[in-house]
Subunit: 473 residues, 2 copies
């Protein structure tokens, strides 16, 4: 059994002992939060164009971001006011395009940036999904990552012809089976030395080194050869963001990188410890799971300017749209509550953790639903840091020290403005402090994150168990 | 009822009355025919890299090709010798990657080239497929086309967890239902004026102009809003290649462009007349269906050099691989037949039409299975033209005059060499003769092919029937 890691950094003095990692979070829709697309600096209405994505990719590579992560969703937000009108009026994660499609164009204009995309297991067929992912891993030369999601909107289930979605835990059970199939396709179907491509002999591959995989389970039954020869990473780098108990269990088993939310550092620290503990229970090295916390950063040369910028963003928040979003997340129709009554007085069963989280994050304020929406409407419901590059760098260090995270998922408010600000102002400050890379490491995305030679899944990862063991002579 | 078209051009003297259209056929694998990847000039082993596809796209746009068409397949060829070894050894359309993934990168480096990709209805979910296609139509600014395929390999069905594939006609019935759903999503879900994107008022779209579509049929049941706002073409340009009676019926109903095979001009002429007649029966203008014949062209400055090039290609054909391919197509294990016996003496029920077609195409030769494979191994089993640019241009004109086709699907033997030869040698000759464009037309792919203003499906196309009619005030 692997031992639990000693608490690192923590409150220890001196420089941070690990490098901070950065992902940029995005979505192929009109911005990450409702209403901000109306800001004069925001360019998210270009989300259907190739140039929009290739320009963003170039900015991120200039800022040495590890990866861009494009979230995805299949359903529509129809809980608030019992219908879709608020979501449609305000472009609340709708319309939303297929995010895998922008990866090849972004890969063409970059050399190192990683590309993480959400793939929703409930609405994919494992055989064709495995091929699509392998194709992207080939085309990006090993820079592809998959954010494993099971899906949470009932409207999506109906769009795919299901009466309703499976229960929460059933979705994860089915997802475990889906993972088993794709591991077999990625890890087991082709031996490492199957492909020879010898023009002289005319032999492309050794047929006896290409294996048919089969699966017969509760949810799936199939047999077939993986259609792609092994891509640089084989299994793409695996991300997951499960927050529930069953979701955490799934993440601790499969994820190499975990996304977490949480509005305060103590809350995040507890989540991090929990995830590392669960990884150990799964027989994995707890340090082989990189953990990223969501964070919105608004920065400017001075604290005062940053503050003014943040206040300006708040004026563009669309309250109705934001409530439609959080009603969809929670399943609670918040239109039934008084916008200006303190949420502390709502019936407690109506207050979901993410609404309560605001009062936890800042108990000195009186939080109303309006205040919650205004806060969540700037870069999402996660924590925010607003200030000069020095202030931001101090805050990021503090997050790293107190929570044991490995880095951040940056969520913009205005795009690409906030990303540009971060790259131009904060990145140099982080580099000056020696806590952020000045050059990318070579190799695949997995190697960049875990070190040279770590091209494939680690041997203690459950996916590695599906590999065909080399014959012992 | 629309009238049948008067026979055009035919044997009439004088210049061709219509412009010749060109698509380049490809596949995301080690070349279109087995073995040719061993040729020193062939570069198909780069098929997993972005540069391979973007360089090809630039060559095609330089040659003013209307589109590149990337075929696809989900199964493996396992009929020949009762197993997959010959197909795996010789890279017979295996491995094969997801062709949709190279479209965005090719679109980034071109302005006019169209992108047609095979999408296999049997193995796609209509809701997510419709979104993926709309995303590509957005990103390419209306240059996307879909080649509608139902799938024909039993091994693919098993890989997707089906006991066996549906019967041939059932596959088409199911495909008709699939088309109904995607038409509703593409044509009906969003009114033309639904999106306003008004930064001042903050209104993204009028909710009452976005409609939930629903479907309840034999094969599918679903309800949902299309997740993408209308893309430039809405329904992508539709290609189909059905050769059977049921396939032709499907093509005549849905296809705007039809791919046909056929080794002689009289055979192709009969197919063309049949497709146009069936289109009329469906209430469509027979000229609204563009018909493309498969053709392999091997060219060089002189006839003699072209002939020598062709003979050189034949020496790289992989006989076993080619037999694995045609065994897969036909379902007949050709390993049971003598490679050097004249095929005329085979039991007739074992000789499928595409094998017989060789004797029909050139009855002056004695065709053996080896000769069939050598012929089919250079650019596929379709017709070939080998010669100088003048010889080729004469031949293309003759094909156009005698068959009433609208253009060609060019199939290379060696890639990108044959395409480069065609662009550098034949295209200028066609342009000199005034039968090939010297500039692209503006607009979407559908407009380039059918004229200005023809951005969407024609009103006589069955997909147009799903549009919401504007309210009459």
């Amino acid at each position: 059994m692997l031992e639990m890691p000693a608490p690192i950094d923590g409150t220890a003095p001196g420089p941070l002992k690990k490098q901070l990692r950065l992902n940029a979070i995005d979505m192929m829709c009109m911005g990450c939060t409702p209403g901000i697309w109306t800001h004069p600096r925001d360019q998210s209405e270009g989300y259907t164009s190739l140039r929009y994505w290739t320009e963003l990719a170039k900015i991120l590579e200039r800022g040495k971001f590890d990866a861009i992560f494009i979230a995805d969703i299949f359903g529509v937000y129809d809980v608030y006011r019992g219908g879709t009108a608020p979501a449609f009026l305000n472009a609340v994660e709708f319309p939303v395009c297929d995010p895998m499609m922008v990866v090849p164009a972004m890969a063409l204009v970059t050399e190192h940036l990683g590309f993480g995309v959400t793939g929703t297991i409930s609405y994919e067929l494992p055989y064709s999904f495995a091929r699509r992912v392998s194709t992207l891993d080939h085309l990006t030369e090993g820079r592809f990552a998959w954010n494993i999601v099971t899906g949470y909107l009932a409207s999506a289930a109906r769009a795919f012809g299901l009466k309703d979605q499976l229960t929460h835990d059933e979705r994860y059970d089915r997802a475990d089976e889906f993972m088993e199939i794709v591991y077999k396709l990625w890890e087991q179907s082709w031996d490492e030395d199957a492909v020879v491509r010898d023009k002289k002999s005319g032999v492309f591959a050794h047929p006896e080194k290409i294996h048919k995989v089969s699966h017969k389970g509760r949810w799936f039954e199939m047999e077939g050869y993986h259609l792609c020869e092994p891509s640089p990473q084989r299994t793409p780098l695996l991300f997951q963001a499960g927050a529930s108990n069953r979701g955490r269990e799934f993440a601790a088993k499969h994820a190499e990188c975990v996304f977490i939310g949480g509005n305060t550092r103590p809350i995040v620290a507890r989540s991090v410890a929990d995830i590392r503990r669960r990884a150990v229970e799964q027989g994995r090295d707890p340090r082989s799971v990189l953990i990223f916390a969501a964070l919105t950063v608004v920065t400017a040369p001075t604290d005062e300017e940053a503050r003014a910028k943040y206040e300006d963003y708040r004026r563009h928040v669309n309250i109705e749209g934001t409530l439609a979003l959080i009603s969809g997340y929670s399943g609670i129709d918040f239109s039934r509550y008084d916008l200006d009554a303190p949420i502390a007085f709502f019936e407690s069963n109506a207050i979901q953790s993410f609404v309560e989280a605001f009062t936890v994050a800042d108990p000195s304020r009186i939080w109303t639903l309006r205040e919650v929406a205004l806060d969540a409407g700037v870069g999402g419901s996660g924590p925010k840091e607003v200030g000069s590059p020095q202030t931001i760098a101090d805050a990021l260090e503090q997050w790293m020290r107190e929570t044991d995270i490995d880095g951040f998922n940056l969520v913009y408010a205005v795009t690409p403005g906030d990303t540009l600000d971060f790259v131009d102002l904060v990145v140099p400050e982080l580099q000056r402090r020696g806590i952020y890379k000045t050059e990318y490491s070579p190799g695949t995305l997995r190697e960049k994150l875990f070190g040279a030679g770590m091209c494939h899944l680690r041997s203690d990862h459950p996916g590695a168990a599906y590999r065909v063991q080399p014959d012992v002579p």
